[in-house]
Amino acid sequence: MPPRFPPPGGDAVDALVTDQYLDALLASADRRPPDGAPDPAAGADLRRATAVLRASLVRVHPSFRFEERLAARLAELAAGDVAHAVAGPGVRHGDLIPFPGAMLSAPSGDPLLAAVLDGRLDPSDEEAVARAAGARSPARPLLVGGAITSAALSLVGVAWVAWRAARPGGPGLPRAAHESSARRLAELADLATGIHGGTA
């Protein structure tokens, strides 16, 4: 397929010029500029930004202790000591291995490693990893969930009792009780009226 050139002008051409400039600059192993004058097409501001970033964004090596510790864990995983490698460095040979769910959610462990190990998860698939990580996000505390549930049930109960009390009639005993209660309320109201009327 013949190379396709970007349309003249615009971001694509500028980006191509920048890319060629960076290629030339980063190709030098000692992070020094290539021989010859810098490409004037790249622009002074852009060249300055590139120079500052090259000086600032250096490659940092982790500590030797970390490097060796991770190398040991990788060796354990390679040797088939999956439980130890998955659970983290806190687990030693001869330790009791906890229930798998608890083990995989241990802070030092990787909750998705087990899925990668048995082929259920492709670690290079962005969407699959995001989905799996989301599915394993911490659940709401049960206590809070329970409290909300009981509060909701209580509110429903209050509403149901209020509705039943306000309902004018119903079959059988409830209706008789309702009528009796209404009669007593009416008598009390009459009595109160009489008392207030007597004192007035």
Binding site: V52, L53, R59, D122, P123
Partner: protein, 213 residues
Amino acid sequence: MGRPGFGTAEPAKPRVVVALDRDRHLVEAARRDLSQFDALYRKYLAQVYAYALYELADHHAAEDATERTFLRALAALPRFRELARPEDGPDASTFRVWLFRIARNVVANERRARRRKPAASLDVALGAGFAIADGVDLEGDLVSRDEAATALRAVRDLPDDRRRALLLRFVDEMTTAEIAGVLGRSEGAVRVLIHRALGAVARELGRDRGPVR
């Protein structure tokens, strides 16, 4: 850059792999004997760690991300397939692209989990090991600590895709084709991402210097 495959849905193309993947021998050795993965680990440890450190601005988080990346890579290695196109060139390493796709996903998950927390300050980032020398002589100029701090702040504030592309280009010195493979974008799109990211850094540096008298 052809994307590294996973699983067995599509047949592999070993003839292309032989010509293109510079890590082929190490990958094949590791596939035969997983303990040989150590060579790949030592080769790419600093690159993955540096990428995670600049993305997460925290030593411990970067170590966790690096650890998860390599453990997942080793766990998935038996199902890794190398696919590349002839135009990817002799230096193309599909293993490195695949490894950085794993690292990108690990880091993205960590960043998502952190969104509820306040962003790490630049001071934390600098203290975490962003090695800014007191004066770096480059191209005959002196890059001051202030300039470096301004540039890092500008990088930190870039949109995710521009920041990732810029870090992979500068810290890991990847080619545009490799970055395209890691980010799942076209090479043209990656060039534009980097160009715009550099423009944003240049603007911040210009603003920091103030108007020229």
